[in-house]
């Protein structure tokens, strides 16, 4: 098993984050309320996304976008989102003029949807978008695999 592969990097980070979450939460009663579960779920999901994005660092646009999104979720986000939106707009208009010269109806409709799905995909031309999508799918499947096994082991106990 490659010690520095995406999978191992993600696993270490994610487990570390999980233990932190577990440690922070006081050991609640045997049946925690839905609100608590929801909070934990948010934290775990964020931990999963974050650890995946960190494992990829800034090599990929989607990881950068995810990290950026996670960092600026906080209340001080108004300035940040404004800046981000203007940046995205400039990039997307440039990409649009470059890539959508011929109005390929089928191509652009799906491309738009894909852009919404893949984080950071708004400001990319189709070529790079497809690249990012491939890497994103690969990372998502890794994430799913590890979450699955983690959940299984937890459940066994």
């Amino acid at each position: 098993m490659n010690p520095s592969s995406l999978k191992s990097r993600f696993t270490t980070r994610f487990l570390r984050a999980l233990t932190k979450i577990n440690a922070h939460k006081p050991i609640s009663s045997s049946s925690p309320g839905p609100g608590e579960i929801f909070q934990r779920y948010r934290r775990i999901k964020v931990a999963a996304d974050k650890s995946m994005a960190y494992s990829v660092r800034s090599r990929r646009t989607w990881s950068r976008a995810t990290l950026w999104r996670l960092r600026t979720r906080s209340p001080r986000s108004r300035l940040a989102t404004h800046a981000r939106r203007s940046w995205v707009k400039t990039r997307s208009t440039r990409a649009a003029s470059h890539g959508k010269e011929k109005k390929e109806d089928g191509g652009t409709v799906e491309a738009e949807e894909l852009r919404e799905l893949v984080p950071g995909g708004e400001a990319m031309d189709l070529c790079n978008l497809l690249d990012e999508t491939a890497h994103y799918i690969k990372c998502l499947t890794t994430q799913l695999d590890i979450l699955d096994r983690q959940e299984c082991t937890s459940r066994e106990l």
Partner: protein, 367 residues
């Protein structure tokens, strides 16, 4: 389908080719008339193509020869809507045509002149044939993205309209094949471009040599290559032909993956509170037993190589974990049980003190 019943092997070829054709055509930006024609009989792929084929034979043959193919296709457009069935019989009769000789000649001529029937339209002797390409010239660019999918296609020997389109596709395949050779030549020439002020690219047959179209072609090829990779990644996508449908599949796949992540993290959140409690209890129980046994004497000597063990510990539990993760999903249940202890040790490493972690080390040594 009546066609299948009527013409046996030939018909089955045709319907398969019809479906491919229609799939390819649907994703193209064809002329408006064609689109209307496609949608006229009500959206079923095969039947919409039979609408096309319902042109009586002489008209179909004329299609190939005339430059205004669009006009001819538009003409029967209203016709198929009311009564698709009767025309098919007319056409079925024409299947017994000796297609091979005449149409293959025409195909040969097409392949020769398609090259010259430029997008710019500047050419040569047999004007009606190349100009028939001009009407579909706009096709050429988007269709080039399809040749990969439709490449393994139908025998050319079928009916005239299918012939027409398959001939065009074959030409583009030829061009695409030669385009690869000239791509490398273009690259080589661009390597020399540092010395020369201009890049001299040898013109391929029937391809414009603007820098714009070259760049566009390169871009399109890149996009096609990436689409192929994505098709391999996404399960069940390799059968689908057509960019739009493939993209749809990819979008669905990404959405489902994201939803699964949310779902699993929800489950983890629900399951986890129990885990904390259990793990701690399990761990303390084990450590207690270990303390009582002969390991107690080894605690102090173990403190000494702790530094090295730290490094080991980092990798070792992870390796065990990752070995667990490597196991096939079917064997997951059994694996889960055996790898609880490394899980324990990993968690305990973070949550408890030094001596506890040493014990976890010893546990691993045992394993």
């Amino acid at each position: 389908m009546e066609l299948n019943a009527g013409t046996g092997g030939n018909g089955s070829h045709k319907t398969a080719s019809e479906r491919d054709e229609v799939a390819a055509l649907e994703s193209l930006q064809f002329t408006d008339e064609i689109r209307r024609l496609m949608s006229a009989p009500g959206g079923d792929n095969a039947s919409s193509f039979t609408a096309l084929l319902e042109l009586p034979a002489p008209q179909a043959v004329q299609l190939i020869q005339s430059p205004d193919s669009a006009k001819l296709i538009a003409a029967p457009a209203p016709a198929p809507a009311p009564a698709p069935a009767p025309n098919v019989d007319d056409f079925r009769g024409s299947f017994q045509f000796p297609f091979n000789c005449g149409l293959i000649d025409r195909a040969a001529r097409f392949s020769v002149f398609a090259g010259d029937g430029n997008i710019n339209g500047n050419n040569k002797s047999n004007s009606p044939e190349p100009t028939s390409y001009n009407s579909s010239a706009s096709l050429q660019k988007p269709v080039k993205s399809e040749p990969a999918e439709t490449e393994s296609s139908q025998p050319l020997v079928s009916d005239p309209t299918v012939e027409n389109r398959s001939v065009k596709r074959k030409d583009r395949e030829k061009v695409k094949g030669s385009s690869k050779k000239s791509k490398t030549s273009a690259k080589e020439s661009s390597d020399d471009a540092e010395k020369l002020p201009y890049v001299h690219v040898r013109a391929r047959r029937g391809q414009a040599t603007d820098s714009h179209s070259l760049a566009e072609r390169a871009r399109r090829e890149k996009i096609n290559a990436r689409m192929k990779l994505l098709q391999d990644l996404v399960p069940g996508c390799s059968k689908i032909s057509g960019t739009a449908l493939v993209l749809d599949e990819i979008i669905n796949h990404v959405q489902s993956l994201q939803r699964q992540v949310e779902f699993l993290s929800m489950r983890l959140a629900a399951v986890n509170p129990r885990i904390d409690f259990n793990l701690d209890s399990v761990f303390t129980a084990e450590s207690g037993s270990l303390m009582d046994s002969n390991f107690s004497g080894m605690v102090i000597p173990m403190m000494w190589p702790e530094v090295q063990l730290n490094g080991n510990r980092q990798q070792y539990p992870q390796q065990l974990h990752l070995d667990a993760f490597q196991q096939p999903v079917s064997g997951r249940e059994e694996v889960c049980n055996s790898y609880i202890t490394p899980e324990n040790s990993l968690l305990s490493y973070d949550s408890s003190g030094n001596s506890a972690s040493l014990h976890s080390n010893q546990l691993k040594m045992e394993l």
